[in-house]
Symmetry: C2
């Protein structure tokens, strides 16, 4: 039996205990782990330095190196994240409906832990603590497989969390790290149906595609955001400019930033010159179709491939459309089902957009940047689902649970 | 582009229309399809005769041939099933929560169709009409891939349903049949992520395993039931006997029938002689461990493999356990997470069993045979999920839908 299968078997065993912990016990474990991370912070920084040196030796630099870095300030923020999760309501144990059937059976639907959750992610060591905390809070046992660049840091974090858990009387195997970061072991994990109930990839498109292609374990897809804003004929121009600028510039590197702007042809002349000028002054490269270029010539040309791009950068594609139907069709053709917004003063067009756009989050007169667990009031977020099963949109604690039917009888048999 | 991919593309296009149909329009379509199935019943019977002849020529007989058969009575029952679905509430469009955030954004969660649902099933032609009706009722577009033995019957049913839909003004591509029943095309369907939102296998273990192994499209697993009943020390003996006999004998070939009985050692002598005698009188073969044989010698020996078997037949494995903990552990080791029951008069043990047994349906003092959409009050059922994502246990209409967030703003941007 491979090391990974042993970890899986152990996780499955321990999961029966973890799923039954009370909210108080789980919070005590989380607090103890948080305290221990602060207490042994120096060791994390030291392990992280080793990872950083190895990464530099391999020529890694820039944003990747930054993501890998865990200094004291970041560790404190990471621990603060755990303490925030302690404060949230525990969804486990809630019975959402309880009905008496004609034969006297009482059928209830109770929220319970998923069991063993696998998480595959990249070289962001703060995900290690965050994913652990979200999963333990919901009664789940976790197997983490982080990026190889962060392996020393992750091993240290898990060691410290494990000690913290044991201090609180919780088995340290509530969270285990896959130390062999080879591709083969990663694939083995994706097929570990006997021991994993769910697999959640957190990372870029390549990672997510690999998990979807290879996994036989049920996956929650957290995905790409090729997000759109459509400026309707009746839009309030000032609102439209504010919303587009915010959705593009406030944080361009995230999945809920806007990538393509669709503008109704009747309002294009009134809005585009000012909007393009403003975006360009904020370092945004504009790519437009011929109709856009006719209005604002100092931009680049967009081609067919631009409509499918998730730039994650200071780049915006703009297209002029004839009407709302063409906008909805464009989104259906090129969108990834993440977040889309309409800017309009028309009641009918707002409703139509909400009804007909098939995305996880559909907005009227607001920035797409709000697609986020905290902004929606969930307190914490394990990711944003762009698939349709189980969870769609920002996933909070509830989405890390499942339900089971509990049935109270008095000797009933089926006729 | 293959025929299947063309069907997929068409389904995706049409799905935008189907998802927007009102309940009245969908019910009109279902009723029109039902009426047309009755009107053209002779053609179905004729097509079915061809399938039956081909099947017989290939040496198919017995239960398989029976499942393939569609006579007038069965067609009427199938159509009655569609009319029952017409009467159910449509889950689509319900907004389950609508909250105002501190910044004034109003965030609602709305129930919507999944989109395009693929269903892969075996040689039961009545599934064709049933799956279509459940999917259309929930605003979904459907691609059906039935067993090759039923192909002529299925083609005829889909042709007749399509005509019925068109008579009601609904595009006939709301439901399409994969006519090429080769394994290659089936695998192609399992990887059709661009056009399918969900894939649901309905059938035996082999089919389900194949779909889980090969599919990159999200799957809802409808699965095996190795169901258990545990007779606690404090059980009411009369209730226990009724429940076990019902769960084994009332319909042994279905997934919620009991397969293994666990008996507390302190009550075994009091219950087993009578229970075993009664079961044997009803043609049930009993397989027991050594302790059971010591009490009721006239039974077969159970070995390790029996604890994992889903007999789907007049066979029951019996094991004597020391206490409820051993029973719970046995179920965790060998169960498939479908349905388990405890028979007990102890409050604590009833609660403990409900809490600690990790199955889709957990019963106190009732037969496992109640795990069923109709029995739980859902009106209709697309299958029984034994996985933990999206849906667990009997799946009603609601489980054929997803949600999306709809957000009403007034120009909000993110700070």
């Amino acid at each position: 039996m491979s090391k990974l299968l042993e970890q899986g078997k152990k996780a499955k065993e321990v999961s029966r205990t973890i799923a039954q912990l009370s909210s108080n016990e789980k919070n005590k474990g989380l607090t103890s782990a948080a305290d221990n991370l602060i207490k042994r912070m120096d060791e994390i920084v030291k392990a992280n330095k080793t990872d950083l040196e190895n990464a530099k030796a391999q020529g890694i630099s820039g944003a990747l190196l930054d993501r890998l870095t865990l200094d004291e300030e970041r560790i404190e923020a990471m621990v603060e994240g755990i303490r925030e999760i302690v404060k949230l309501d525990d969804p486990v144990g809630e019975v959402s409906s309880m009905k008496k059937r004609p034969n006297g059976l009482v059928v209830g639907e109770k929220r319970v832990a998923l069991g063993v959750v696998g998480i595959i992610y990249e070289a962001r060591p703060n995900v290690t603590a965050d994913a652990f905390a979200l999963c333990l809070k919901t009664g789940n046992t976790t197997i983490l497989r982080g990026g190889k660049e962060a392996i020393k840091t992750n091993m240290k974090i898990i060691e410290i969390i494990g000690e913290g858990l044991e201090n609180a009387g919780i088995p340290k195997e509530a969270v285990q790290l896959v130390e062999d970061t080879s591709r083969e072991t990663s694939i083995e994990m994706m097929k570990m149906n006997d021991y994993l109930d769910v697999l959640i990839p957190r990372g870029g498109k390549g990672l997510i595609t690999s998990v979807i292609t290879n996994s036989t374990v049920p996956v929650i897809e957290t995905g790409e955001g090729n997000c759109h804003i459509y400026i309707d004929k009746t839009a309030d121009i000032a609102k439209a400019i504010d919303i587009v600028v915010n959705a593009k510039v406030q944080r361009p590197g995230v999945c809920n930033a806007v990538e393509t702007l669709l503008v109704h042809e009747d309002i294009a002349n009134d809005i585009l010159p000012e909007l393009v000028k403003k975006l360009q002054s904020l370092r945004v490269t504009i790519k437009g179709d011929d109709k856009v270029k006719a209005i604002t010539p100092k931009i680049e040309s967009a081609d067919e491939s631009d409509w499918s791009r998730e730039y994650l950068d200071y780049i915006l594609a703009i297209k002029i459309v004839e009407d709302i139907d063409q906008a909805i069709k464009h989104i259906a053709t090129y969108g990834t089902g993440h977040s889309e917004a309409i800017v309009t003063e028309s009641y009918s067009n707002g409703q139509k957009f909400l009804d007909h756009v098939d995305s996880a989050a559909v907005y009227v007169n607001a920035s797409t940047r709000f697609t986020d667990g905290s902004e929606f009031g969930f307190g914490a977020e394990i990711g944003i689902s762009t698939q349709k099963l189980h969870a769609r949109g920002p996933m909070g604690l509830r989405d890390l649970t499942t339900s089971k039917y509990i049935i109270y009888g008095d000797g009933q048999i089926r006729k």
